[in-house]
């Protein structure tokens, strides 16, 4: 159990850190992992579809790389082990909730062990496009006990910073619909039979998720951000917090031509 401040690189950690506790896990270490070998930083961005997560991650990656930090990313359903299987299960639509919960947990731990931990060993900044908090919120909204879920993720690494891009479900719906002209079956919680109306179902489901997030936020000290502010405004706030955490002095940043279209 190494205190955060004793990271391999000895980089000073400011008191902005959302955790404040000594251990990097939630109660249990992962078998075979020595936490003292881990340096780097784990920064999580949470928020529903349409909250601007992926835009912010693209911008933050460019900014951090321009500042000389090596960046690794992770997200849900991106493991080499089971991502394809989960895709197939979701498409099939006959999967039951406990099985889906455990497949997502497998996907999460596979990325943790094969992507995040090796990156932290090499002193990378890991940007997580969602973390297990979303998985807990979704499963809890489907009636799986919260205690059970927290136990499941007891061996996960505690992030150094967790940002929560908060948007009203109505605004998220509009953004998503404008982008893809449809709303995903799962993101609107259609499996819960909340309403026959797609919009209503989305709003009701996201309200449930938000409630779970409020509890999670209290428990884990999320940094809530106004996801409906402009991309530039959200990005400036994110950079300010991250710069303080990583000890970056200069926080000026303008996106390159490749990313300029995101800046609005």
């Amino acid at each position: 159990m190494s205190p955060r401040s004793k990271g391999k690189n000895g980089r000073g950690k400011s008191d902005i850190s959302s955790t404040g506790t000594a251990s990097r896990n939630y109660g249990l270490p992962l078998p075979g992992i020595n936490e003292e070998e881990l340096g780097g930083s784990l920064i999580v961005i949470e928020g529903m579809d349409g909250s601007g997560r992926s835009t912010q991650i693209a911008l933050l990656t460019e900014w951090l790389e321009s500042e000389g930090f090596a960046v690794e990313t992770m997200g849900l359903r991106r493991s080499g082990l089971v991502a394809k299987d989960i895709d197939a299960l979701l498409a099939e639509n006959t999967i039951t909730k406990m099985t889906l919960t455990l497949m997502y947990a497998t996907d999460f731990y596979d990325q943790l062990e094969h992507r995040i931990i090796p990156a932290l060993r090499s002193d990378f900044v890991v940007l997580a496009d969602r973390y297990f908090y979303t998985l807990i919120a979704r499963a809890a909204a489907r009636g799986i006990e919260r205690d059970y879920l927290h136990g499941l993720y007891e061996m996960a690494l505690r992030p150094d910073l967790t940002f929560w891009l908060n948007v009203r479900p109505e605004a998220a719906f509009e953004r998503e619909f404008r982008k893809s002209h449809t709303i995903s079956y799962w993101e609107s919680g259609r499996d819960l039979s909340l309403s026959d109306d797609l919009f209503q179902s989305f709003i009701m489901y996201q309200a449930k998720i938000k409630k779970e997030f409020e509890t999670l936020s209290e428990r884990n000290g999320f940094l809530a951000m106004d996801g409906e502010a402009s991309v530039a405004a959200v990005n400036t706030e994110l950079r300010k917090r991250i710069a303080a955490h990583l000890g970056i002095q200069r926080t000026h940043y303008r996106p390159s031509a490749a990313l300029a279209s995101l800046w609005r």
Binding site: L81, T99, T101, L102, A105, E113, Y148, G151, M155
Partner: protein
Amino acid sequence: MVEGIDGSGKSTQLYLLKRWLEIGGYRLHFTEWNSSPLVKSATKRGKQRRLLTPTTFSLLHAADFADRCERQILPLLHSGYLVLADRYIYTAFARDVARNCSPRWLRNLYRFAPVPDITFYFRAPLDVAVNRIMSGRPKLKHYEAGMDMNLSLDPAESFRIFQGRILAQYDEMIGADNFVVMDGTLPVNKLQKHMRQFVKTRIDLSRFAPKKAARRAR
């Protein structure tokens, strides 16, 4: 359901119990550990490429079990079936703890599983069990032999050490999880006699022979 290390004779005994109940016309369902098509491709991929860690190995098996539990075991129990399981959650507890997973984490992981009415634990000495397996199956697979834990460079020796650890874990569960210990070195027919006798005294089998009873009732 039955538990025990590889080569303890449990599958043979459960098969004979199943035949006895089938011939008697009872409503029953038989399920095996690790049999759901749902996670087969992932397990296969993980094993072939040796991607599995103790944690993901454990989680994939739990997902597989959850699928069987939610789609077969629970609905069948609710509709009045006798369910026979060749290995159950205790297999995960014994094997994954032998791989250094946390017992507390594992007990939580499988909290959704119904507690069995009877758990037969077939106990055979390590040498007997290992010899039974080695004589019939000369080539051991990577994870089966516990080669992922670097116990030994020799697969046969690694398998032996791994099975020894699993056996010790099973033994620890005997009291707390109400195992009915069966001596795996006894003759097959003698063991089967004990098993059938025990099932008859513990379970009211008439509940599972509804066809004749229902007709008579009408």
